[in-house]
Symmetry: C2
Subunit: 343 residues, 2 copies
C-alpha cells in the first residue's frame, strides 16, 4: 500500500494561488500508486496579513512543522512595506525549519528562447546556503532619520553552517558532472570568504573525483551571460545565491521555468518547495500565470521524498510540453492540463 | 597658457602596464592646447609586493594625494592571496582618498556584439557608493580553523555617506534622461535598505524633474539581461555596485569597453580613473590587451577636470574606432594608434 505523506500547502498571494493547485495535481498524478498525499492548507501571506495582521502565528508554524513537506506558492503584495512578510514568513520558515540548502536548478529547456544570442547547453544547480550570512537579521540603526544615522547589516557565517552545505554540494556534484564552483567575494569579504574557501578545500579532499574552482561574485555575473554552460554545481552563500539565481533564471528564459527547494538539514522539519517567481500582482487573477515552475517544484518535492521515477515523470512531461508548446500563449489551466495530460 | 595638471600614474600589473601608456597619450592629445600633464609614476601592485613586500607605503600615498588626479591600470596577480592587494592598495586608496562615488558608465557601442540577442539601446551609468557598506573591512573571525569558527562581515552605512552619493546621482540624472533607479535588497537588509530609501525619497523632493524607482538587486540582475535599455542612472551601494557593473560590462560586450572613475568628495584629494578590467595575467606581455577601456578612463578624467570638449574628442574617436574596426583583431598598440589617429 502506498504511504501517505502530509503536505502543508501555502498558496500565498496573487498568482501563487493560481499555480499551487497545479503543483498538487502534478504531485498526485506523478506519484499515483506509489505515494498518497494529504494536504493541510495554510492561509498565510499578504492577504491574511492585511485582513487580520497575522504573519506566521506560532500555532500555525507548529502545525506546518508537523508535515512531511511544504508546497509554497508565492508571497507578497506591493501594499506591504518591504521586509515584513519576507522576514516574518518566508525567511522565518527557512530559518526556523533549519532549511540549510536552498537548491535552485537552472536549465535551458528546448523550446524556450534565452535572451542570450548563443546560450549553449545550460544545465547547472545553485546550492545556496539558507540559514546564515546577511539573512540572519543581525544589524540595526542608531539616530534613525537624522543626518547622523548609522545603519548596519551583519553577515554571520559559521563553520557548522558552511560545512554542511559544502558537503551537500559535493555530494550533489557526484551525481552530476562532478564540478563545484565556489562563488564568493573573498578578496573583500576576507573573513567569511577565507572560511568558505578553507572548508571547501577540506571537504574536497574527501571527493577526489570532484574538481572545484573559485569565482568572485562579480566575475560570476559575467560568466552567467558570456558562458553559462561552464557551470555544474555553484556553491555560494545566502545573498550571492539570491542574486545569481535570479540572473540564471533570466538567462534560461525567465523565472517562469525555475523552481527551488529549501532543504531541511536533518528531516526533523519539513523541506519546502516553491517556484522562484513572485506573486506577480499585475497578472494575478487572470488565469495567465505559467504554472510550470510550480509543477517543477512538485518534482523537487518528490525527489526529496525519494520518488525519483515520479519526479522524472514530471520532468519529462514538462520538457515535452515546453518543447512543443513553450512559445504559445496559454492560460494557467491550459498549461497545467497540457502537462498533466503528458504524464 | 594651458594649465598643468599633476597626474599620479599607477600602471600596476599585467596588461595594466600595457594599456596605461595609451590612456596617457589619449589624455595629452585630447587636451592639446587646453591642458598640460605632468606625470608621477608609482610602482605599486603585485610585482612591487612580490619584490619588496610593500603595498602602499605611507610616503608614497602622501605623494599620490598631492596630485590632481590618478590614472590606474590594473592590479593583481594569482600568486598573491585574495584580499591583500585589494584591501591594501585599491580599496585603501578609495577609502583614504574619500572617493565616495564610483562612477561606471555602461554603453553598447555600435560595432560591438552584445551577448544578448536583442540588447536594445544600452546607455546607463551606475553610481556606486565607494567608501562604506560591506567594503569597510569591519568583521572578524573567532576559533579560526576549528569546527566552531564564526566569521562575520559588517556592512556600515551612514546617512552622511549615503546622502552625498544620492545627491550625486540625482545631479547626474539632470544631465541625462532624468531617471534614477535605487538598487538594494531592502526586503532583507532592512536597516540599510530603509535608510537608503528614505534618503532617496528626501533628496528626490529637491529634483521634481527626476523620476525615481526602486529595484531589488536580484530583480536588477534579471532586467540587465532582459531589458537593459530601461536604465538611466542606477544608484546603489558598494557591493551591489560591484556586482551589477560587472554584469553590465558583460552585457555591453565585455569589460574591455568599460571605464570607471572613483570620485573624491571634496577635491581635497585626487579622483582616480581606471578601466574596469583586471590585470589579465593570461594575456599579459603579449601586446594583445584592448586599451579602449583605459583610454575611456582618460576621458572620464578629463570630464572630471572640466574639459568636456577634450573628453568628447576621445569618446568620438573611440566610437568611430569601434564602429569601424571593433570586430577586427588588433594589437594593443594598433588599437591605441588607431584611436589616437582619429582624434
Ligand atoms: C523574497 C526574498 C526574501 C527571497 C530571498 O531574498 O531569498 C527571494 O528573493 C528568493 O530568492 O527566494
Ligand atoms: C578588485 C576588487 C576589490 C574591486 C571591487 O570589488 O571593488 C573590483 O572588483 C572592482 O569592481 O573595482
Amino acid at each position: 500500500m502506498a504511504k501517505t505523506y502530509k503536505i502543508a500547502v501555502i498558496p500565498g498571494d496573487g498568482i501563487g494561488k493560481e499555480v499551487t493547485p497545479w503543483a498538487q495535481k502534478a504531485l498526485e498524478k506523478a506519484a499515483e500508486g506509489v505515494a498518497d498525499f494529504e494536504y493541510e492548507q495554510f492561509d498565510l501571506g499578504a492577504e491574511r496579513y492585511l485582513r487580520d495582521g497575522a504573519i506566521l502565528p506560532e500555532e500555525e508554524e507548529e502545525r506546518i512543522k508537523a508535515n512531511d513537506a511544504i508546497l509554497l506558492g508565492a508571497v507578497g503584495d506591493p501594499r506591504i512595506k518591504a521586509g515584513i512578510l519576507e522576514r516574518g514568513l518566508l525567511l522565518k520558515l527557512r530559518f526556523d525549519l533549519d532549511q540549510y540548502v536552498n537548491l535552485r536548478p537552472s536549465k535551458l529547456y528546448k523550446g524556450v528562447t534565452s535572451p542570450l544570442a548563443n546560450p549553449g547547453d545550460i544545465d547547472f544547480v545553485v546550492v545556496r546556503e539558507g540559514t546564515e550570512g546577511l539573512y540572519c537579521g543581525a544589524g540595526g540603526a542608531v539616530r534613525r532619520g537624522t543626518p547622523n544615522e548609522v545603519a548596519t547589516e551583519v553577515s554571520i557565517n559559521t563553520a557548522y553552517g558552511v560545512e554542511r552545505v559544502v558537503r551537500y554540494a559535493f555530494k550533489l556534484a557526484m551525481k552530476r558532472k562532478k564540478h563545484v564552483t565556489l562563488v564568493h567575494k573573498k578578496n573583500v569579504l576576507v573573513n567569511a570568504g577565507d572560511m568558505w574557501q578553507r572548508i571547501v578545500d577540506k571537504v574536497a579532499e574527501e571527493y577526489p573525483e570532484v574538481s572545484h574552482d573559485y569565482l568572485h561574485i562579480d566575475a560570476t555575473t559575467i560568466f552567467l551571460v558570456s558562458d553559462p554552460s561552464r557551470f555544474d554545481v555553484i556553491l555560494t552563500d545566502n545573498l550571492f545565491g539570491d542574486i545569481i539565481t535570479d540572473e540564471a533564471g533570466a538567462v534560461v528564459g525567465g523565472v517562469g521555468y525555475s523552481a527551488s527547494g529549501c532543504i531541511n538539514a536533518s528531516d526533523e522539519y519539513p523541506s519546502m518547495f516553491e517556484p522562484i517567481h513572485g506573486s506577480a500582482p499585475d497578472i494575478a487573477g487572470q488565469n495567465k500565470a505559467n504554472p510550470t515552475a510550480a509543477i517543477l517544484s512538485a518534482a523537487m518535492l518528490l525527489e526529496h521524498l525519494g520518488f525519483d521515477d515520479a519526479a522524472k515523470r514530471i520532468h519529462k512531461a514538462v520538457e515535452a510540453d515546453i518543447e512543443e508548446l513553450g512559445s504559445t500563449v496559454r492560460s494557467t489551466d491550459q498549461v497545467g492540463e497540457d502537462i498533466l495530460a503528458r504524464m
